[in-house]
């Protein structure tokens, strides 16, 4: 396996559309790196440039220690894994895995050895003579990976491989893929528009927006300290609360009197937007101190937690509460902030304020 470096990447299509403006990425050897963003943000184009399926307008791509800009896709030693269930239904697992090597006309002994090795690593030995139809979703996924692995690639590239699966299977496949990646220490570049998938899978996540990267960070970093309002809105469900606040007497105050702990280094009178996750707020009976009064608009009892939407002077607030919380729709309540300082944003630039 190898690291992948992208420097100064730019991609402009013949019709003039700029898909990627300027992109720098360093993906470590053995890392599962996720590129996340809405459709049209440039994530898939970036992946296709790494694979060699698109030629970049400017910039350099290095795989391992080799500049691959002038290499054809097949010469890059990179495996592109498409949707996992795209196995040949009439072939056994063994034949599915062997297919890329046979297509290259490799000697039988080499093919057999490669299939045996891949099957051992992926724990597929007992299944080799079965057809895909007789395998579980997770097993099919391992066969698809095996088919990519026999070519001994330096990295795997995956473009929304779980998208068309139902929710249940997708959750299973997610854990399976993460387990395999960690056990085998493969370099994987994974494209998705699904923020839950990105969080669950990635060592690091790059959040794309309009051909640029808004933020690169670990799942916890992008969740707890989004670099921009765009990144803040894109990650998390229920959505982050973006509350207009002003610095007074050492803390941030929102309309209606909600007090939020201020990060150090702000100036008195600064007008900012605080990014407050729903679990950092608590619903209380009316009259609580440092809280904002409001009315419950909706109460979603999800079993393991209850999500409240509260209409307050500082806007509609989403609050994550334990399932035992007693408030009902239309109840007058107060909402209070809990814990340490949240990230704050400059309303003009939309960027997090460094503190």
């Amino acid at each position: 396996m190898a690291r992948v470096q992208v420097s100064g990447l730019r991609k402009q299509f013949p019709d003039g559309t700029v898909a990627i403006e300027h992109l720098d990425l360093q993906i470590e050897d053995g890392e599962l790196f996720v590129m996340l963003g809405p459709s049209g943000c440039g994530k898939t184009t970036t992946l296709r440039c790494i694979a060699g399926l698109e030629r970049q307008t400017a910039g350099t791509i290095v795989v391992g220690d080799e500049v691959v800009d002038d290499l054809r896709p097949s010469e890059r030693d990179i495996a592109m894994v498409f949707q996992f269930y795209a196995l040949y239904p009439h072939m056994t697992c063994r034949d599915n895995i062997a297919f890329p090597l046979r297509a290259q006309g490799r000697p039988k002994a080499e093919v057999d050895a490669a299939v045996t090795e891949a099957a051992r690593m992926l724990q597929l030995e007992p299944l080799l003579d079965r057809r895909p139809k007789r395998l579980s979703g997770g097993e099919q996924q391992r066969v698809a990976l095996g088919r990519a692995m026999v070519r001994n690639p330096r990295a795997f590239l995956m473009d929304e491989p779980l998208t068309n699966l139902d929710a249940e299977l997708r959750a299973d496949m997610r854990a399976e893929l993460k387990h395999l990646q960690q056990r085998l220490s493969t370099t994987m570049v994974y494209v998705t528009h699904d923020q839950v998938e990105a969080m669950a899978l990635g060592h690091r996540i790059a959040i794309f927006n309009d051909g640029r990267i808004e933020q690169i960070g670990t799942p916890l970093e992008v969740y707890e300290r989004p670099a921009s309002l765009f990144a803040a809105r894109f990650i998390g469900s229920p959505p982050i609360n973006l509350v207009d606040v002003e610095l007074t007497n050492g803390s941030l105050t929102a309309a209606g009197g909600l007090r939020v702990v201020a990060p150090d280094g702000l100036r008195r009178g600064d007008r900012l937007i605080a990014g407050v996750r729903p679990e950092r707020l608590t619903v209380l009976p009316p009259g609580a101190e440092e809280a904002v009064e409001g009315r419950v608009v909706s109460r979603e009892a999800l079993g393991d937690e209850t999500i409240y939407v509260v209409d307050a002077a500082c806007g509609e607030l989403h609050v994550r509460m334990p399932p035992t919380a007693p408030y009902a729709a239309e109840d007058p309540v107060a909402v209070r902030f809990e814990g340490g300082a949240p990230p704050v944003y400059d309303p003009t630039s939309g960027q997090v304020v460094a503190t």
Binding site: A167, E168, A171, R174, A175, E176, K178, H179, Q182, R183, V196, M199, A200, L201, P219, L220, Y223, E224, I235, G236, S237, P238, P239, R277, P278, E279, V297, S298, E300, A301, L302, G303, D304, I307, V309, R320, P323, A329, E330
Partner: protein, 354 residues
């Protein structure tokens, strides 16, 4: 008196038994959700209630009166579908007004009705736009508005949020419960999304293969599922299952044992232990109520981390705090909230009484 009642309703299409002795009681003013996978009979139920399909057997009652002879129009139930089906050349106001125009209501009265509904749905500023100038969520609201102007006996909604993106779906859930409260009318809502059901319903009926599996409040269905199937269908991530047997005062499985918290089954027949991810923990456990496990994968989700572990060859998910870190293959001890476990008969799949 129930607003809507189905008694032993059956309906077949060729070889397919869509409804198989379905019983349902929807209270006046309830937000009642029919929840089930595709093919469970949800849409057929709505169509039978609305009079669009005739049942092979059984009775439909509306406000306590047998509806057998009533035409769809006479039943006075408004249907809202997942496809918006707006008139493309009409404005939002004209679309909303169309059922009233068809009934030849006076113009000023129509105007008042449209404004009332637009205000309720918060779409006043859209009234002069055509569908092509609106987002999917806005179109869905206009479609809803067209149903709302009629002031019918009840609203039947067939997966109205399915075609919306996640963010909009979440926002519309809040909207729909708000609208339901302010109208005070009966909502009968069909969905295959258990989160929608849990988050909006007063009462949920879980449907499978044309039969009602369980009726209850969201908390009842979540905390006391009547069988293994309901237990797995409701809740995300899903309830964990482990095969086991009861022996003496213990429940024993592959490489684990737990105290039996009072289930009256000691005859050694095969059982399935069910426990939700939030009722397992990696940080606190008593030696008597824990399972030996190996970490399979960790999935940080921001507000929590799902830790996938293996116990005796079976995979479980544990809901853990956001910042936990484990290596693949690391040995851990999983604490079990014994009061919160479920036990199902492995053969009949029904819940064992406690």
């Amino acid at each position: 008196m129930s607003a809507i009642r189905a008694i032993a309703v059956s309906k077949a299409f060729g070889d397919v038994q869509a409804l198989d002795g379905l019983d349902l009681e929807v209270a006046e003013g309830a937000f009642f959700v029919l929840l089930g996978p595709s093919g469970a009979g949800k849409t057929t139920t709505l169509r039978v209630l609305a009079g669009l399909e005739k049942p092979d057997a059984g009775t439909v009652e509306l406000d306590g009166i047998d509806a057998a002879g009533a035409t769809p129009a006479a039943r006075d139930l408004a249907m809202v579908f997942q496809s918006y089906a707006l008139y493309p050349k009409k404005t939002a106001a004209e679309n909303i007004a169309s059922p009233l125009t068809a009934r030849r209501m006076p113009k000023d009265e129509i105007g008042r009705e449209v404004r009332r509904v637009a205000e309720l749905l918060r779409i006043e500023r859209l009234l002069d736009r055509r569908p092509a100038q609106m987002s999917g969520g806005e179109q869905q609201r206009v479609a809803l508005g067209r149903a709302l102007v009629r002031d019918p006996r009840a609203f039947l909604m067939d997966e109205p949020l399915t075609n919306l993106d996640l963010k909009l779906r979440v926002a519309m859930r809040t909207e729909l419960t708000r609208i339901h409260r302010s109208l005070g009318r009966t909502f009968l809502y069909v969905t295959n999304d258990q989160v929608e059901a849990m988050s909006m319903a007063d009462q949920i009926a879980v449907l499978r293969n044309g039969r009602v599996q369980q009726v209850g409040s969201p908390a009842e269905v979540y905390d006391r599922p009547v069988n293994r199937w309901v237990a797995r269908f409701v809740g995300s991530p899903r309830m964990n299952l482990l095969p086991c047997r009861a022996a003496g005062d213990r429940l024993t499985g592959d490489a684990w044992a737990l105290p039996n918290p009072g289930y009256a089954t000691t005859d050694g027949r095969p059982l399935t232990l069910g426990v939700r991810p939030e009722d397992l923990s990696l940080d606190r456990h008593e030696p008597a109520a824990s399972l030996p496990a190996t970490v399979y994968a960790t999935e940080p989700l921001g507000d929590r981390t799902l830790v996938d572990v293996e116990v005796g060859g079976h995979r479980l998910q544990v809901k853990a705090p956001p910042s936990v870190a484990y290596e693949v293959g690391e040995r851990v001890v999983v604490g079990v909230e014994l009061d919160r476990i479920h036990l199902f008969d492995a053969e009949t799949e029904t819940a064992v009484a406690r």
